[in-house]
Amino acid sequence: MSAGRVHGRREALGLLAALLATGVAGGLAGCNWRANRDVLVATRGDRDAAKAIGEAWLDQNDEVPKSADELAARFMGDASLADYKDKPNELRAMLYERIREDFAEGRTARLGGWLMSTTELDVYAYVAVLVY
């Protein structure tokens, strides 16, 4: 299945906000789509951090695709981003579970010494490719 394409920079930023919150945790339970965007997209530190990690992942691993669609396909698996357009909390929960499974099942990679889930690394790469 397709990972789904998201059109428009504003819409993409909103989705990315949800992904950032998910990234390593997504603890903003109860936050709606716009709150996520307002809180996290506006936080340049988080966005810069995500970009830095995503770019490092892209630089380190030639097998990581450079296109947003292909990256989304990697971290969404059989699901589609479009399916979650209005369900940021569900998207966070789904990705968070995938990250936990990554760690449980050894789908991890060292990035500059940090042991990370490949799902979260792909999410950050997606951020790096799409937002900047």
């Binding site: 603890g27 339970a29 951090a49 830095a52 990690i53 968070y96 940090w114």
Partner: protein
């Protein structure tokens, strides 16, 4: 009571039922157990202590030696030679060895104790009293009042344990000095350095022990039983130097004395966790005080370890890891390397709380921990203590050459422990770890790795004289009345600090000797 050996007549012979060489954790505990009149008829105990009541430079100099293997501490700085022995430089951390440490592990040559953990449990329980610790319970549950051990789940590869840290009775020489001054049946001979154990002509029993005093007399001690309790470096040194009858050294017919030297490699600050304070109260993993009275105070300190089944499955030696607060410990980190992506990782991971708790989106509130990782080292016959052929001490006794070696499994196990921790933290949403141990199974360890002043294995126990210097009681094979006490008996080291097990073994030996003498 204390006796100043300088006041003895040259050539005199002192006599007792038991002669204990050394007044450290092993020797002092033996003497305390044997002096206890409640156990039956009095036993006359001689304790031969090389030093005095306080540290003296000329005595400490007797501990000098040479490191010819892996880089190690200066040998005179890695132990103490005065009343109380190396409890004078002990951090006080106590935990029993884990059950797996006693097992013969197929993947670990020379592993296996001649008895299991359950054999030592009653003696561990009594060691608690000597050290004025809390109840003999090293499971996390009783110590979770201020913060719980994290539940990583039944499928997780790691679990939590706890140290009890002696505070009130850590410096045994100071704490129990008065008890020894009052003791009628125990005589502590200060400044009595044992230079040789003298066997009978047949070589099957100890006749006397020769003692020398700096600028003083030479004299001898004689007892029904002689206990060598001088530490993991001096025990083999004295046995090897006592070569008048058994020319290779006492108990060394099979070239085992001094071999299998083990330390606990401490790979501290090599890993780094960024996590969220909203996820868990980490107080269980911090050193916390217990006990109302200062003299009976002790502390607990939670740690992480690899589960036994994972150690077996992945063929690892035992590894523990304690948590250090990074900001408090930063000044102690000698090698302040640049950590790639740290600035990026902190804000991203600051709200690593998954679906469990409140979000923490303020990077400054992110937790930063490093880890201290003491680990078992595999028994290795090439890792050894031997006598120098070129250097002697003030008494003419050859000094020590220490050839410390580690094995590939040792490094692999530490690296794997860090990986398993990182996976477990990530799986639990607790944070992300930065790892530095190289993935090569070579002999290159981080520059910060160092030993913990834990000297073990050099007179190892085994029922077969061809595989061990001592039998399961600590008796030197082939010598009827000579026993060894201390960590030199350990066939494997485990990852826990050795002193608590040293006490347990000493209490066990005291019971056995008491039974023979009473």
């Amino acid at each position: 009571m204390f006796v100043e050996s300088r006041d003895l007549e040259p050539g005199s012979i002192i006599e007792g039922d038991v002669c204990v060489i050394g007044s450290g954790a092993a020797g002092m505990t033996l003497a305390r157990e044997l002096m206890d009149a409640r156990n039956g008829a009095p036993i006359r105990v001689i304790v031969l202590e090389s030093g005095g009541r306080e540290e003296q430079e000329a005595i400490t100099d007797l501990n000098r030696g040479t490191n010819v293997g892996r880089e190690y501490h200066e040998l005179h700085q890695a132990r103490s030679r005065y009343f109380g022995g190396s409890t004078n430089c002990w951090a006080g951390m106590c935990a029993p060895l884990d059950p797996i440490d006693f097992e013969q592990r197929d993947y670990l040559p020379h592993s296996g104790w001649p008895f299991d953990r359950a054999t030592l449990d009653p003696y561990y329980a009594r060691a608690q009293d000597h050290l004025r610790l809390g109840p003999f319970d090293y499971s996390p549950t009783p110590w979770e009042s201020e913060g719980e051990a994290f539940d990583f789940g039944p499928d997780a590869p790691i679990e939590s344990g706890v140290f009890q840290t002696a505070r009130g009775a850590k410096r045994m020489g100071k704490v129990f000095r008065e008890q020894f001054e009052r003791a009628d049946t125990v005589r502590v001979y200060l400044h009595a350095t044992v230079t040789s154990i003298d066997l009978t002509q047949a070589g099957t029993a100890v006749d006397t022990v020769t003692c020398k005093v700096l600028d003083g007399p030479t004299f001898k001690a004689r007892a029904r039983y002689v206990i060598l309790a001088a530490g993991g470096l001096e025990n083999p040194r004295i046995l090897l130097a006592s070569n008048a009858v058994q020319t290779a050294g006492i108990g060394n017919r099979h070239d085992l004395v001094g071999r299998f030297f083990m330390e606990h490699p401490h790979t501290d600050h090599e890993s780094f966790l960024v996590g969220s304070p909203g996820m868990h109260n980490w107080d269980f993993y911090k050193s916390r005080g217990h006990g109302q009275r200062k003299s009976h105070a002790f502390r607990t300190w939670g740690y992480l370890r690899v589960k036994d089944e994972v150690l077996r499955r992945e063929q690892l030696v035992n590894v523990h890891s304690v948590v250090f607060d990074y900001e408090q410990r930063a000044r102690k980190i000698k090698n302040k390397r640049e950590i790639p992506l740290r600035e990026a990782m902190t804000p991203v991971l600051a709200d690593t709380d998954g679906d469990r708790g409140r979000p923490v989106a303020v990077p400054e509130q992110a937790l930063h921990f490093t880890f201290g990782t003491p680990s078992e080292s595999a028994p290795n016959p090439a890792s050894r203590v031997r006598l120098s052929t070129s250097s002697t001490d003030a008494f003419g006794v050859p000094r020590i050459e220490l050839d410390w070696k580690l094995s590939p499994i040792d490094k692999r196990s530490v690296r794997r422990m860090h990986e398993l921790m990182a996976e477990s933290f990530g799986r639990a949403g607790l944070g992300r770890m930065y790892l530095t141990m190289s993935e090569a199974d070579d002999d290159q360890w981080p520059a910060q790795m160092q030993g913990g002043w834990h000297h073990m294995g050099t007179t190892r126990m085994h029922d077969d004289p061809k595989r061990g210097v001592c039998d399961a009681t600590g008796r030197v094979h082939g010598v009827a009345n000579l026993f060894v006490a201390g960590s030199s008996l350990f066939p494997t080291s485990g990852a826990a600090n050795p002193t608590f097990t040293i006490l347990a073994l000493a209490i066990r030996l005291a019971d056995q000797l008491g039974g023979k003498l009473r």
